[in-house]
C-alpha cells in the first residue's frame, strides 16, 4: 500500500475516477489480480485500505437478487440499521437480525452475541427467549447474552463499550421509536467502533422513522405470510411454514431499491428467496406424528445438520429422561 499521504490521495482520486467509469462504488472496486479470489473479485476498502483480509468481505444472505442489489452482500462490519414500521413487527425485525447473526455464526463461531435493549422495549415486545432462539437459529446458551438497562443512554453506553470488544460476534441494539440521543453523532461513534472491531452492530428500531444516521445500510423489515408446510400429499392447509420476511432497502450506498421476500430455513441455516412459483416447502417435518409413549419410539424425522457446533442444551449427559442428580435437584426445584 502506498504510505505517503500525497501519493495516497492521488491513488484515491484515481480510484474514484475508475469507479465512476465502471459504475461501481469506489470501496468495492474489483480486486487486483494478485489478491486471493474469495469474494467474487470484490475487494472491500475502507479509508483506502483493504479490509476483510481474514475472510470474504461481505456477508452473503444467500438470496441472489438481494445480494446483487446490495452489491455483493451485507457489510460484515459496521452499523446496519434494521427498521420495523410498527412495534408489532418486532418479531420479524429481531428474527431477521438473528438470522443474519446465525449466518455469521454458521461460518465461524466467533463468540457470543450481545443483545442490548432498553427495559421498556423488552417489556413491550418481549424478552429474548432462549428455547426459541435455539430451535430456530441455533443460538445456544453460551452464544448469547443480553442486557436491558432502564435508560437509552445506558444502553448506548453499553453498545459503545461492547462495539470495541473483538470477542463478540455481533451486537444488537434495540430501541423503540425515535430519540434525539440516537443522532448522527451517536450512530457514527457506534459505526466507527464496530468497523474497527470488524463486526456488525445491528441497530433494531421498532416503529422508527427513517432518520439521518451514520449507518451505510438500512433495511426495512416487515413480516410476510409464511407458506404452508409441505407434506407428501402437497401443502398442508392452514399450517405455518418457515418464517418469512419482507425486506425493503431503505438506504444503501448502491442506491438500488427493491423488495424481497425471504424465508429462513432453519434446517439449512440459510435464507431462501421466495418466488411466485414456489408453493410447497421441502424438508419441513414429519407427516405423521412420532409415537412417544412407546418403549422404543421412532427416530426423529430429521436432524438439524446445520447446527453442528451447538451442543444440545444441557449437554449429552443431561438428556431429559435422566433425573437431575441429588445436588442439582434443589436448584431444579427452586428454579
Amino acid at each position: 500500500m502506498v504510505s505517503h499521504a500525497a501519493a495516497r490521495g492521488t491513488v484515491f482520486a484515481l480510484r474514484q475516477k475508475i469507479a465512476k467509469i465502471e459504475g461501481v462504488l469506489a470501496d468495492r472496486l474489483a480486486a487486483p489480480s494478485n489478491w486471493p479470489d474469495d469474494a467474487g473479485g470484490i475487494l472491500l476498502r475502507h479509508d483506502g485500505q483493504a479490509v476483510g483480509r481474514g475472510g470474504p468481505p461481505l456477508l452473503r444472505t444467500g438470496a441472489a437478487s438481494l445480494d446483487a442489489v446490495l452489491g455483493g452482500g451485507l457489510p460484515r462490519a459496521g452499523l446496519i440499521e434494521i427498521h420495523g414500521s410498527q412495534t408489532r413487527d418486532a418479531g420479524a425485525v429481531a428474527g431477521f437480525a438473528l438470522a443474519l447473526a446465525s449466518l455469521l455464526l454458521k461460518e465461524r463461531a466467533a463468540g457470543p452475541l450481545l443483545w442490548i435493549g432498553t427495559a421498556g422495549i423488552f417489556s413491550e415486545t418481549g424478552f429474548p427467549y432462549l428455547p426459541g432462539l435455539y430451535a430456530r437459529f441455533g443460538i445456544g446458551p453460551d452464544a448469547f447474552f443480553f442486557s436491558g438497562p432502564d435508560r437509552l443512554q445506558d444502553a448506548l453506553w453499553i453498545a459503545e463499550e461492547a462495539a470495541r470488544l473483538k470477542a463478540l460476534a455481533a451486537i444488537f441494539l434495540e430501541t423503540g421509536g425515535t430519540s434525539r440521543r440516537l443522532d448522527l453523532t451517536a450512530t457514527r461513534r457506534l459505526h466507527r467502533r464496530a468497523l474497527q472491531a470488524g463486526k456488525p452492530l445491528f441497530l433494531l428500531r421498532e416503529a422508527g422513522l427513517a432518520e439521518p444516521t451514520a449507518a451505510p445500510l438500512r433495511l426495512v423489515v416487515a413480516p410476510a405470510r409464511a407458506r404452508p408446510r409441505s407434506t407428501l400429499a402437497g401443502p398442508l392447509v392452514h399450517s405455518i411454514g418457515p418464517p418469512s420476511f419482507t425486506i425493503g432497502i431503505g438506504k444503501s450506498r448502491n442506491a438500488a431499491s427493491g423488495e424481497f421476500i425471504l424465508e429462513w430455513d432453519a434446517a439449512e441455516r440459510g435464507f431462501r428467496e421466495r418466488r411466485q412459483e414456489d408453493h410447497g416447502t421441502e424438508n419441513i417435518g414429519a407427516v405423521v406424528s412420532a409415537s412417544s409413549d412407546r418403549p422404543h419410539p421412532a427416530p426423529a424425522a430429521r436432524t438439524l445438520l446445520a447446527f453442528p457446533n451447538v451442543e444440545p442444551i444441557g449437554g449429552k449427559e443431561n438428556a431429559p429422561h435422566r433425573q437431575p442428580s441429588r445436588e442439582q435437584y434443589k436448584t431444579h426445584r427452586s428454579a
Partner: protein, 524 residues
Amino acid sequence: MHPGIEIAEADPAADRRLIEGLADWCDRYTPLVALDGEDGLFLDITGCTHLFGGEKALLDELLARFFHQGFDLHAGIASTPGAAWAAARFCLSAIEEGDEEEALAPLPLPALRLDPAARGGLESVGLRTVGAVMQTPRAPLARRFGKLLFLRIDQALGRVEEPISPRLPAPPLAVERRLAEPVGTMEAIERLVGLLAATLRTDLERRGEGARTLQLTLFRVDGAVSRIAVGTARPLRDPDRIGLLFHEKLAALENRIDAGFGFDLVRLSVLSLARFEAWQADFSGEDASEEERLILFADRIRARLGDRAVLKAVPVESHLPERAAAAVPFAGRAAAYETTPAPAPQGEGLSHMAKYPPLRRASRATSPPLSWGRGKEPCLAAGASSPPSNGGEVVCEANRSGGRTSYPIASPLWGEDRGGGTAPRLPERPIRLFSSPEPIAAVAAEVPEGAPASFRWRRVFHHVAASEGPERIAPEWWRGDGSEETRDYFRVEDEEGRRYWLYRQGFYGEGPQVPRWFMHGIFA
C-alpha cells in the same frame, strides 16, 4: 414543669441509626466493631494500636475526634471486654493486663453487667461491691444467684474467653490511606483507589488469590461513612482493572455521594477471595485474552448499572415456557472456579419468571436455578412439552378433531435419545416471550379446542389466517398450590404475516367461567 424546658419525643430508631453511624465511623480504628446495647460500642483493637502510636494515643485521638464532632463519651481500654465495659462506664480510662481484679474490686455491682434482679439480690445480702462478691465463697452464691454471676466475673478477669460479635465481617485483606489533607474529587479518589489496589496486589499475589468482592470505604471528615462495593466475575488482581470497576461505580454514584468537606481516610478492602489461576502471558504484550476482556466488560456494566444489567439465559429443566429459560448474571463462558452462588433476583428485575403469581413465592424466595461452581457447565436440559402430533412439525386434521383426552401431557422432548438418533426434536418456540402473558379478547374460538378466528390485542384487531395447535402444557403440579390451569398453546399467523403464540387457559365447559386467552410470545 419548668416553662423553658424543651421536650423531645424519644426516638429509639433514630438513636439506633446514630449509634450505627458512630460504629461505622469507628471502623477507622479497627474492622471489629460491635454494638453494645443501646448506648455502647465495643472495639476490638487487638493489633491495631501501633498504627496510632499505642493504646493511650489511640484513646486520646478517639476522644478528641468525638469531642470535635460534639459527642461527650466515656471510653475505657482493657484486655477483656468485661473489664473494658466497666472501665468505660466507671471512668477508669485504662486497665492494664493483670490489674483487672484490683481495678474492679472497688466498683459497684452494675460494673459486672448483671440484670437488676440478681443485683438487687446481692445487695440485699450485703454484697455491694465487686470485690465483696469476689471474696465470698462461690458455691453458695452460684446456687442462689445462678452461674451468670461468676461467668461475668470470669469474663471480666479474663479467665473465660468472651468474644464480641462485630457488626460487619472483618475483610480478609484491607489497605487504607490516611490523608492529611481531605480529598473530595472523584479523580482524586480514583487515583487513591489505584494506589491502594497496587498495594493490595502484593498481598493477593502472596496468597495466590484474587478478589471477588471489593469494597471501598470513604470516611468523611465529619464522620459520615460511604461504602461502595463492586463484584467481579473472575478473581481479580490487576490494579488497573480494579480502578476501572470503581471508576464505573463512582460514575454511577456521582450524584449520590456527598463529599462534604472531603474524605480523610480511604480504605479498600477485599470482602471475598477466590483462588487465582495464573496464566502465562505471551510476548505480544496483550496479556488479556478476549474472553477476559468480555468478562471485564460485563463486570464494568454490572458495577455501573447494577447486578442484573447483563444477563445470560440458561436453560432450566421445566416444560413451562416461562420457566424453561432463566436469566442469571453473565459471568463468562465457563466458570471453572469456585463461585459464590449468584444472588436471588431482587425486585422486578429482568427475570421473567418472577411475575407469575402462583410461582412468585417459590421463585423469589430461593436462589436461581444453577450454581456454576465446581467446574460444571450449566447442566440442565430445557424441558419442553408438546403433544407428539404437533411438536413443531405438522398439524394433522385428524388430531385436531380428536378428543382432548387423547393428548399425552407434558412429555419432555429435548434431546431425547430416540433409538440411534441423538438429534433433538425441537418444539416451536417463540423468539421473544412476554414477561407476563397479556390477556387478549379472542373472538369465535373453535369450541372446545381450536384457535380463535380473530383476536384483539393491545386494542388492535388481528384476523387469524393460519393456526397450528393446540400444544397442551399442563402446570407443574409439584409446585405452587395447584390452582394453575392447563394451557393450550396455538401458533397463529395474522393476515399480514405476524406470528404469535397464544394460549387458552382452562377448558370450555368445565366450571362456570369461560376460559381466558393470553398472548405469550412472538415468533420470528
